[in-house]
């Protein structure tokens, strides 16, 4: 049963990341920012320093654990904002049609034409670095795929018999959109949502790497990678562990998305019973 494995592995990886983020202060050995000690600088991984230490003698393990908070907040919140924007625009555009559809389509095409990372960079440049501007920048720039999917689903679903039937039975437009269309397009939307969350974690890493996201000394996985790039040959553990954290979280989210899609479809659910 392939999809079960997806769900279990993906779910556990994501749950682990969330758990680490939630309980970071208790899991970390030291304070990720303040506990610098040049006496311990650039120690390789050992029983004392699980993931080694950086040039200022800060514990990489503690920094990765705290970094989970920032990376996951960015991933979840910005993708949530993206999903709300994308689904609202796509669903209404597909269902209502007309000039509103043309408008949304144009906007989506515009967004797709500009690489979202470049757009996010521009927003960051205006707002300045920091968590809030990172959330705004990533939350406003990645909704176009969600919007496309929602619109396409709405278009194909609105000619379905049960949507027509709902109209005949006196359902209002809002009720049709929420009870007939939205639940039936959740499968692909959740897949896109989890993929997008992984994408947002990566985008945060990229922006922080470029120095526009989370500023040192605060740890995010991306900013840690960025700081580590000069020592990649002399102290590879500086980049390996935050990189591994990004990799496992994104992998977990993607597997989770696949697994959820299978389980959310009631028809595939019953074939298993």
């Amino acid at each position: 049963m392939k999809f079960r494995a997806n769900l279990i592995i993906g779910g556990s990886l994501f749950a682990l990341a969330v758990f680490v983020g939630l309980f970071a202060p208790w899991l970390a050995h030291t304070d990720p920012v303040m506990d610098a000690n040049l006496m311990n600088a650039e120690e390789p991984p050992s029983w004392k320093w699980w993931f080694g230490t950086d040039a200022q003698g800060r514990d990489i393990y503690s920094r990765v654990v705290h970094g989970a908070r920032i990376s996951l907040t960015v991933g979840i919140v910005s993708q949530f904002v993206n999903s709300i924007i994308g689904v609202t625009l796509g669903l209404t555009a597909g269902y209502i049609g007309g000039w509103w559809d043309d408008f949304v389509n144009g906007l989506t095409n515009l967004m797709l034409a500009i690489p979202s990372l470049i757009f996010a960079l521009a927003i960051m440049a205006v707002l300045g670095p920091g968590l809030t501007s990172l959330l705004i920048a990533l939350g406003l720039t990645n909704w176009s795929f969600t919007c496309r999917i929602a619109r396409a689903s709405a278009l194909s679903l609105k000619s379905q018999g049960y949507v027509q039937a709902a109209k005949v039975l006196g359902y209002g437009n809002l009720r049709i959109m929420f009870t007939q269309l939205l639940p039936n397009m959740l499968g692909p939307l959740i897949v896109i949502g989890t993929l997008g969350m992984g994408g947002a974690v990566l985008a945060e890493a990229a922006l922080s790497f470029l120095g526009l996201g989370i500023r040192p000394p605060y740890p995010s996985w991306g900013s840690m990678l960025s700081e580590a790039r000069d020592q990649i040959t002399t102290a590879p553990w500086l980049s390996v562990f935050p990189g591994l954290a990004i990799f496992l979280t994104v992998l977990g989210l993607n597997l989770l998305g696949d697994g959820l899609r299978d389980i959310l479809d009631p028809q595939s659910r019953s074939t298993r019973v």
């Binding site: 039937a165 005949v168 006196g170 639940p183 039936n184 009631p266």
Partner: protein, 325 residues
């Protein structure tokens, strides 16, 4: 004469083709009294389904009501605001469809879909609505309704789904039930069960039925009166017994003659099944004069020139033919 439940007067439905406008349905008039069963028969594309849609205000571009009046309980409803029309739909006028496979939301348990009607039209709380949904399922004789309410549509058979559709349609005790080919997609044995169930429930509640079908036999079995449509017009309207005994319009005659019969000569392969020669003309190319004239056996010169008017028959009913009787 009391006010009919629904009265359609000289209805015309326009089809907006890119360059011009053609009438898909023209001069259609009929009335249905409270608790009455009325059938609309005709082949595919004759306009019977869009006539039904016009009653509930759901014609969408390129179709629109061109002319005529639709009165529900004496009140004109064709120009009501969308919100007022929606109050009628599902609540006072309900409809069931041909395809029970697709008419139910696949991701919502059937009980919830029934309950939604009580919440939507009767303002019940979800808790009450759920109880009423179990009752509604019991009424359409779904076994073990307490368990079935949690089922998803794909877990039910076609017949069971159509029962659920009937439960949804009759949930708010509507005054009129429109049944658009309700049994076409079902097995013959299930068909009979569904029809009997529908007849019984509607009779018990005093719900009028507008039954739309291409199956004259089925309609005659369910309905007291039948209107036969051909190419966007009602060509004959009679009591259903009379239609079978003495069809007046050549088209109706053809329909009755083309029904397969069991036993006798047919069983021995000695009689060929009757057919009506030719095909239904396309909406944009309706012929001049009587629309049935290219296929009619009794055609004369006048049929090609002059469109016949609806004439009252001595035995009751209407027919639209120069040579009726």
């Amino acid at each position: 004469m009391s006010t009919p439940l629904i009265e359609v007067e000289d209805l015309r439905i326009d089809l907006d083709a890119r360059t011009r406008r053609v009438a898909a349905v023209e001069g259609v008039s009929f009335r249905i009294d409270r608790g009455e069963t009325f059938g609309l028969v005709g082949e595919s594309g004759c306009g019977k389904s869009i006539t039904a849609l016009s009653l509930i205000g759901l014609l969408r571009h390129p179709l629109s009501i061109g002319d005529g009046k639709i009165r529900f309980e004496g009140r004109e409803i064709q120009n009501l605001s969308p919100a007022r029309q929606r109050e009628l739909r599902g609540n006072r006028i309900a409809m069931i469809f041909q395809e029970p496979m697709t008419a139910l939301n696949p991701v919502s348990p059937v009980g919830r879909q029934i309950a939604e009607m009580f919440v939507l039209h009767k303002g019940k709380s979800w808790r009450e609505a759920r109880k009423l949904a179990v009752e509604a399922l019991a009424n359409v004789r779904v076994p073990a309704p307490e368990r079935r309410v949690k089922d998803y549509p794909h877990q039910l058979s076609g017949g069971m789904r159509q029962r659920v559709m009937i439960a949804i349609a009759l949930a708010c005790e509507p005054d009129l039930l429109i049944a658009d080919e309700p049994t076409t997609a079902l097995d013959v044995t299930v068909q009979a069960e569904i029809i009997d169930l529908m007849k019984e429930l509607c009779a018990a509640r005093g719900t009028a039925v507008l039954m739309i079908s291409h199956d004259l036999g089925l309609v005659a079995n369910v309905c007291r009166r039948v209107a036969v449509m051909y190419a966007g017009r009602i060509v004959e309207e009679r009591n259903s017994d009379d239609v079978f005994r003495a069809p007046s319009h050549p088209y109706t005659h053809g329909l009755v003659a083309s029904l397969p019969r069991l036993g006798g000569r047919a069983a021995h392969g000695r009689s060929r099944l009757q057919e009506i020669k030719g095909v239904v003309p396309a909406i944009a190319h309706y012929p001049d004069g009587c629309r049935f004239n290219p296929r009619c056996a009794k055609v004369t010169e006048i049929c090609r020139m002059v469109e016949p008017t609806a004439e009252l028959l001595d035995a009751g009913g209407l027919v639209r033919c120069h040579h009726h009787g």
